[in-house]
Amino acid sequence: MLNASLKQLSAMLAARKISSVELTSEFLKRSRALNPEYNAFITLDERTSLAQAQAADILIASGRGQPLTGIPIAQKDIFCTKGWLTTCGSKMLSNFISPYDAHVIGRFNAVAAVNIGKTNMDEFAMGSSNETSFYGPVKNPWDTAAVPGGSSGGSACAVAARMAPAATGTDTGGSIRQPAALCGISGLKPTYGLVSRYGMIAFASSLDQGGPMAKSAEDLALMLNVMAGFDARDSTSLERQPEDYTRDLEKPLDGLCIGLPKEYFVKEIDEDVARAVEAAIGQYRKLGAETVEVSLPNTKLSVPVYYVLAPAEASSNLSRFDGVRYGYRAPDYVDLNDMYRKTRAQGFGSEVKRRILIGTYVLSHGYYDAYYIQAQKLRRLMAQDFAEAFKQCDVIMGPTSPTVAFDLGERSSAPVQMYLSDAYTIAVNLAGLPAMSIPVGFGHKNRPVGLHIIGNYFAEAQMLNVAHQYQLESDWHTRMPKE
């Protein structure tokens, strides 16, 4: 049952072979047992989860169940969840019981899915290793000496260790895809605007996008069916007809054209990662796909552009944390300004402060054009690169991360090195495109390798088809780490 797909669990629930209370209890028991070691969850609330499961059982009994009804889902602690502690991995929100639900949480509640707990994450989603969390680092279940990736490290760990059948994540520069790759699971960042950001604590608003994390592409499709949809409360939410993201899963891949950017297959990639990715692409050729070399000439600019735009937007978004309306307030201060300064100095961790300082600087008087406007212009160049590439191919593939999971502590003192490891994923957020990562093997020290699949705008159903067809022919996504 731990390894069952969402479709299988849903069928078991519908056939009354198992109740949601039994299913939820089973995953809660496992989460309780494994969490002291992995630290994947910040909050587990057995009573609330089981009450939701009971309600789901009643709904299923009345014949009104939907595909995810009664299935336990782990929620990243960035999604405001009414009545639940919602910390965003920060001391600043360590006492924040959310008075309302994020749109995404509301969507899961509407189908009576069960919230099994709130997952650990890098503080305010700023990090690639889950080491910046106020609640301590998450361990990679494949190797507890390794990081799980970040920022959705707790969600990736929870799914990989089978503490939850599926989870939510958010992705600003790779925060769904990189931890999915490093933990050997599947993760999808949708087209910007597809999933509402309402109640999703903001990091960089023009890049942030929520998405699903699960074992397989088929599971991701079922999750996205619930998560995606227009919401008037998010001014960047796109008004589109609802889609069934499972509709193309079974299509054969004959004639699929895969673009391989020459800038992605370079010497900076570790040999073990390159080997696994090339083997996966070989498998795609056997499935009827053809490959073509494409070029994304401005790839190397993605990290510099991102480290202007994301901190700029973060410095503005995080100005709301002032110790007045919610969250942490410093115990001692002499006046209002001192209260702000001490509250923020004590409430934020060092990575968050670093990015606030960068953002404040690039937005300050005299520097705005040289940094922010220049970055916005380069962002368009990068989007144009992708548009050119998609004239020659249907999807683009490469490694999700240039290395397998690195050791805890290995890069935490070298921010620039940490930033550079996200080069492949960041460009996708800048362009607003959808992309995913699926497991395609193991590398150094038996740590997982992820394949990055980038699609054109709104091509989620096609990407899920591409991933699913590979997963029908491989078993990487069914592998479980030893306990």
């Binding site: 008037a232 100095a345 940094y371 220049q374 380069l378």
Partner: protein
């Protein structure tokens, strides 16, 4: 571009972050490394390119000017650090 210790302190003040002398020195080293990376942007001629703010180039949606929120003041103030008589308390600003 080279950043000075005074720049770091000025920016920390703008961002309302208390920073010690020691922290400012450490931040200066790390921020300088990050700005070296960011400087690569300046090598590209972008004079003919318009800035991109939204991936889909959509227009800002408008709505009718009508009240849509219900009054939830008590609920929202229940998570505030200090409230009294329905007001948020902060240190005195005007003598």
């Amino acid at each position: 571009m080279s950043l000075s210790l005074d720049d770091v302190k000025r920016v920390a003040n703008l961002a309302r972050l208390e920073i010690s002398e020691d922290e400012a020195r450490k931040a200066l080293i790390q921020l300088s490394g990050i700005f070296d990376l960011i400087e690569q942007m300046q090598a590209v001629d972008t004079s003919a390119i318009t800035p991109m703010s939204h991936a889909q180039d959509v227009m800002q949606r408008l709505r009718t000017d009508a009240v849509t929120e219900i009054d939830q003041r008590e609920l929202f103030q229940s998570v505030a650090p200090q409230v009294e008589a329905g007001l948020y308390l902060v240190p005195k600003v005007i003598e």
